[in-house]
């Protein structure tokens, strides 16, 4: 199960955070900060995986990808495949890119509800729902008609 989806910029400012189990606001902040401090200390050209039990409890893994000024982060448990999660970030980014043609950080901030609409089509209640960005686009366009 996917536990959380986060996007934050390289200065640690959260741009989008979605937790699939309820977390109080303070805990969310703590986790976002924790994740950022781990990510920012990672050197270049290393793996995109982290075992992150210390923040999210036993058997928690994290996959991240760094695009321009943004970190895309997925936190999940042992029932998901790390490489596949990496591709899920890819799906998300590809979709956003189609939505906003050349997605950038500000698109995400200013289109908060659309962002969530996209995300909700890809991940539903912590499970992967759809991985075809064309399908996701279709669904989102349907909504914003």
């Amino acid at each position: 199960m996917i536990k959380a989806v986060m996007m934050m910029n390289t200065q640690g400012k959260p741009r989008l955070a979605k937790f699939y189990d309820y977390m109080p606001v303070e805990k969310q902040q703590e986790l976002i900060r924790g994740v950022f401090s781990v990510l920012s200390s990672r050197p270049e050209n290393v793996s995109n995986f982290l075992e992150i039990d210390s923040l999210f409890g036993v058997d928690s893994r994290l996959v991240y990808k760094h695009y321009a000024t943004l970190y895309f982060v997925l936190v999940f448990d042992g029932s998901e495949n790390e490489l596949a999660m990496l591709d899920l970030i890819q799906v998300l980014v590809e979709t956003l890119d189609k939505c906003f043609s050349n997605v950038c950080e500000l698109d995400i901030v200013f289109n908060y509800s659309k962002m969530h609409a996209v995300l909700d089509e890809i991940v539903f209640g912590g499970q992967v729902l759809e991985t075809s960005s064309a399908e996701v686009m279709k669904a989102v366009e349907e909504i914003s008609k």
Partner: protein
């Protein structure tokens, strides 16, 4: 930042359509983006909160504006501020008829509220209404909200509607309804337990997406209870086969892989179903082999599937061909330049190594590269692998490496983990006691406060008991080396408290034992410790007790005792201590110094921490005295309860009862201390004297000395078991150790082997490193892997003992599976040639299930598969195979044959092919629902 600004400007000018934001929001985001400090950011957000509070109270806020305010609230909360003042507006917005507004409302509510929030009650009604909506987008929005907002109590309110939606005409709705049901199952399994058959039914949905969604709940269900789903093995296999044969519509391709996420889920499910099940493993081995051939290892997702295959193969019963393929895939991963793939490779290696220990050998250098990689994630994964492949021949190298790494990191969480692993490995495989003590010292020195206290007690006991063999000479050498190492370490600044306790205890017990160090030298060191760590009472207590022992041994051996001035001042300081425990110890020490040699020797005998102490609870030695007293007219013994109230000091065991005299006022709280005594003796595998220590030391001197003995008496109760560090059952860090003893058949004998080899074998078979001058890596490789390569044959038996012992620690339940596997190569797996394969493919569960679905719709819309069954085919209940599929196939003649041919081994190609054709015909047959899944077949 500059770039941000320009983009911001562009946005402000250009893209205002659709999701247009006001200037206000734009400025807010921008100013927060430019904030230089957290304080500045907070200031901006607080003023924004003020603005929003005012705006929300204004009458007649236009809806469009309101939507933006709510988004701003979400934004504020994401930055860590409280936006609860606006929750109610978000709730109101969910009632709106406009889809976009409604979605915004739901979005905000799911981000703001937890499922137990008071406002949820206002939303449930809206959700119910929306679930019934004609607009499927509204339904989807409501389903989305359900996942986060519904708790155990509110599930029944929406459950009927969600179940209804399982048959919705839109596949997007069906998909989400399944996911919502899955979510309910996670939250409260009992609430949906009667609906589980729906998941099975949806597995044969016409839409592959819906089928894929069903795999998620099925994965959970199967991991909870494998046996109830064995009947689905062949269905899953055939679905996987169809997916890999690209029978799904092209839209399910991702990076030219057919539905990879579905493949991965299926492989995960197959791994669960195939583990320990020969039949299931055979059925799936064919498709697994195909996958290896078909997977495109040049894409990320292709590798994801490959990795999942490796995982699956490591779970099912071993099949030599598949293992070979998996090993090939792993070596590709390890040779890759991508850290991600290396990580997966190391992980896969760790899984396969349990089945075929030799596989690591060929990857020695790759593993060592990973160990020295700058990537922390990879390093940790590699340590995990090393931990799994540790045996007595390589334990020294591995543990040394682990400790070096442990010292280098700051992450306490991982430090604790790796420290406990070091301790575990050292306890299990230590080649010598000397080495063990050295390792323990390092662990304590660098991670002392993170280590479980039991580890310290184990170490003290090991030093006290020595090898357990009757070799006093070796024992005293061991102690001497411990004392020497501690005297060296003791002057290091800032040692962890736990380590100091061990040091003090050992110095007190054995510091002067060999006569190498004088009493004044040792006592001086101990005083230094007490001085340097004056805020740590436990350490001080240990130090004072150690001093007492040193002086006692001196007095007993008839030497004159010179109490050092610093020691004298320490005693005086402690006499006035606020801690009653320290005070008591100081008084005891003072009293002891005044006694003569004979008395001292009885109170604290030399090296008696291991001696058995018999406590005569009956106090029978007083019988004569009592007799005398009664004869001279005293009152006889009346009842235990009453006696307890009077003879406080004699029976320390019942101390706790004393505090509850029968006639005094009793409050419930008084009962509390009681339970703390029994669990210690009964449940604790390794008794720890510490907890009982303080309560005992409140006793007057005479009893407190006994109480010290008592603590060692608890220790010695274990002696009968003859436990040592060499044995898995001894190690106390993992709770699994207790199960070791309970594990049935064979485990005990294995652990015996572990003991035998850990103490004697390592020294005999441990290979000296090769003299030739190799590059350092090769040497490291040799020391890590060498044990298994050269002397494998003679080691096999004993090292398997180790392995199994270790396996027991990790997961006791799988032992019986793991051990027999290498011995009996499964012959049938190889038999799976072409003919059988075709037989399997004829068993097309999709179609069979479809047939059922059709008949069920004719049957008047009964939704329950099982119920339907007993109607149409009552015979089915009597068939031995308790499976949905087999029952199903009974209902149609052709299929039943197929099933039999599958169970009876001799495959008849012709017959199978015929049936194949027949089944296919039926599957694609008349009904309106023409499954897209099989479109290709028709053409």
């Amino acid at each position: 930042m500059e770039q941000l600004k320009t983009i911001g400007r562009e946005l402000a000018m250009g893209s205002q359509g659709g999701f247009g934001q006001s200037k206000e929001f734009l400025d807010l985001v921008k100013s927060i983006g430019e904030a230089r400090s957290k304080a500045e950011e907070d200031r901006i957000v607080l003023s924004e909160i003020d603005i929003l509070k005012r705006r929300l109270l204004e009458p007649d806020v236009p809806k469009r504006k309101m939507k933006e305010y709510i988004i701003r609230l979400v934004y504020i909360e994401m930055l860590g501020h409280d936006a609860s003042f606006g929750y109610i507006h978000a709730v109101k917005m969910t009632h709106d008829d406009n889809l976009l507004l409604k979605r915004t409302g739901y979005l905000a509510v799911t981000l703001f509220l937890n499922e137990d929030h008071d406002l949820i009650i206002l939303i449930v009604n809206t959700i119910q209404k929306d679930l019934r909506s004609d607009n499927y987008l509204v339904v989807c929005a409501a389903l989305n909200a359900i996942c986060r907002l519904i708790n155990e109590e509110t599930i029944p309110a929406v459950l009927p509607q969600v179940v209804e939606l399982l048959n919705h005409q839109k596949e997007a709705v069906r998909k989400k309804a399944i996911m919502a049901l899955h979510r309910f199952h996670r939250k409260s399994p009992s609430s949906v337990s009667h609906l589980i058959s729906n998941f099975r039914k949806r597995l044969c949905d016409n839409d592959p997406g819906v089928m894929g969604a069903t795999l998620c709940p099925l994965f959970d269900l199967i991991s909870e209870d494998v046996n109830s789903y064995k009947d689905l093995v062949s269905s899953f296999v055939s679905i996987l086969k169809q997916v890999t044969e690209r029978r799904l519509p092209k839209s399910y391709d991702y990076h030219s892989m057919p539905a990879p996420f579905i493949q991965i889920k299926l492989l995960k499910i197959l791994a669960l179903l195939g583990s320990g099940d020969k039949n299931a493993s055979e059925i799936m081995s064919m498709v697994l082999g195909d996958l290896f051939r078909k997977c495109d290892s040049s894409t990320n997702i292709g590798n994801a599937i490959l990795y999942e295959c490796i995982r699956c193969i490591s779970c099912i019963l071993p099949n030599p061909k598949l293992l070979e393929a998996a090993a090939d895939a792993i070596s590709k991963f390890l040779k890759s330049d991508s850290h991600n793939l290396k990580y997966m490779g190391i992980d896969g290696l760790g899984r396969l190594i349990k089945i075929s220990p030799d596989i690591a050998e060929q990857h020695q250098l790759a593993v060592i590269d990973c160990l020295e990689d700058p990537d922390d994630t990879l390093k940790r994964k590699t340590f995990e692998l090393l931990y799994k492949m540790t045996k007595s021949s390589n334990v020294e190298v591995i543990v040394d490496r682990m400790i070096d790494y442990m010292i280098s990191i700051n992450d306490n969480h991982y430090k604790t983990e790796i420290a406990s692993r070091c301790v575990e490995l050292a306890e299990q495989f230590a080649p010598s006691n000397q080495w063990f003590i050295q390792i323990m010292n390092k662990v304590f020195e660098h991670a002392g406060d993170l280590v479980n206290i039991k580890v310290a007690h184990n170490l003290m006991r090991l030093i006290a008991e020595g090898f357990g063999e009757d070799d006093d000479d070796a024992d005293s050498k061991l102690r001497l080396s411990a004392v020497e190492s501690y005297l060296q370490l003791i002057s290091e600044p800032k040692l962890p408290s736990l380590f100091l306790q061990v040091i003090s205890w050992v110095l007190g017990e054995y510091g002067t034992a060999d006569g190498k160090y004088s009493a004044s030298y040792i006592s001086g060191k101990l005083c230094d410790v007490a001085d340097a760590y004056s805020s740590d009472e436990t350490v001080k207590g240990y130090a004072v007790s150690a001093l007492m022992k040193i002086y006692a041994f001196e007095i007993a051996s008839g030497r004159k005792v010179d109490v050092l001035p610093e020691c004298q001042s320490l005693i005086e300081e402690l006499l006035a201590s606020h801690s009653t425990d320290l005070q008591q110890r100081a008084y005891e020490l003072q009293a002891l110094l005044a006694l003569d040699a004979r008395a001292v020797e009885t109170i604290i005998p030399l090296d008696a921490s291991c001696e058995d102490i018999e406590v005569d609870k009956e106090l029978s030695f007083l019988n004569g005295y009592i007799q005398q007293a009664i004869e001279s007219g005293s009152q006889p013994y009346i009842s235990e309860r009453e006696r307890l109230g009077m003879f406080e000091t004699t029976d320390y065991h019942s101390q706790d009862h004393h505090e509850v005299p029968s006639h005094a006022l009793r409050f419930e709280a008084y009962e509390l201390p009681k339970p703390s005594v029994p669990p210690q003796a009964s449940t604790e595998l390794v008794p720890v004297p510490e907890p009982s220590y303080y309560s005992e030391s409140h006793q007057p001197i005479s009893t407190s000395l006994v109480s010290e003995r008592e603590s060692s008496e608890i220790k010695l109760r274990l002696d009968g078991v003859k436990q040592k560090w060499g044995r898995p059952s001894y190690q106390s860090t993992t709770s699994a150790s207790s199960t070791t003893q309970q594990a049935p058949n064979g485990t005990t004998s294995h652990s015996d082997a572990g003991v035998g080899s850990s103490s004697s074998k390592p020294r005999s078979s441990y290979e000296p490193k090769k003299p030739e001058i190799d590059p350092e890596k090769q040497r490291l490789a040799a020391s890590l892997f060498g044990g298994s390569s050269s002397s494998r044959t003679d080691k096999k038996s004993s090292s398997s003992g180790h392995k199994s012992a270790k396996g027991t620690v990790n997961k006791p339940a799988t032992i019986p599976k793991e051990i027999p596997t290498p011995v009996q190569p499964p012959p049938d797996l190889l038999d799976l040639g072409e003919p059988t394969a075709t037989t399997i493919s004829t068993m097309d569960p999709f179609k069979e299930l479809e047939g059922l679905m059709d008949s069920s719709s004719q049957d008047g819309g009964s939704t329950d598969v099982m119920g339907l069954y007993s109607d149409t085919a009552p015979v089915a209940t009597t068939t031995s195979v308790d499976s949905l599929l087999s029952e199903l196939s009974d209902s149609s003649k052709g299929n039943s044959h197929t099933y039999q041919s599958q169970t009876s081994k001799g495959p008849n190609t012709k017959e199978a092919l015929e049936k194949d054709a027949l089944v296919r015909q039926m599957g694609v047959n008349p009904t309106s629902q023409n499954p897209t899944l099989f479109k290709d077949l028709l053409g």
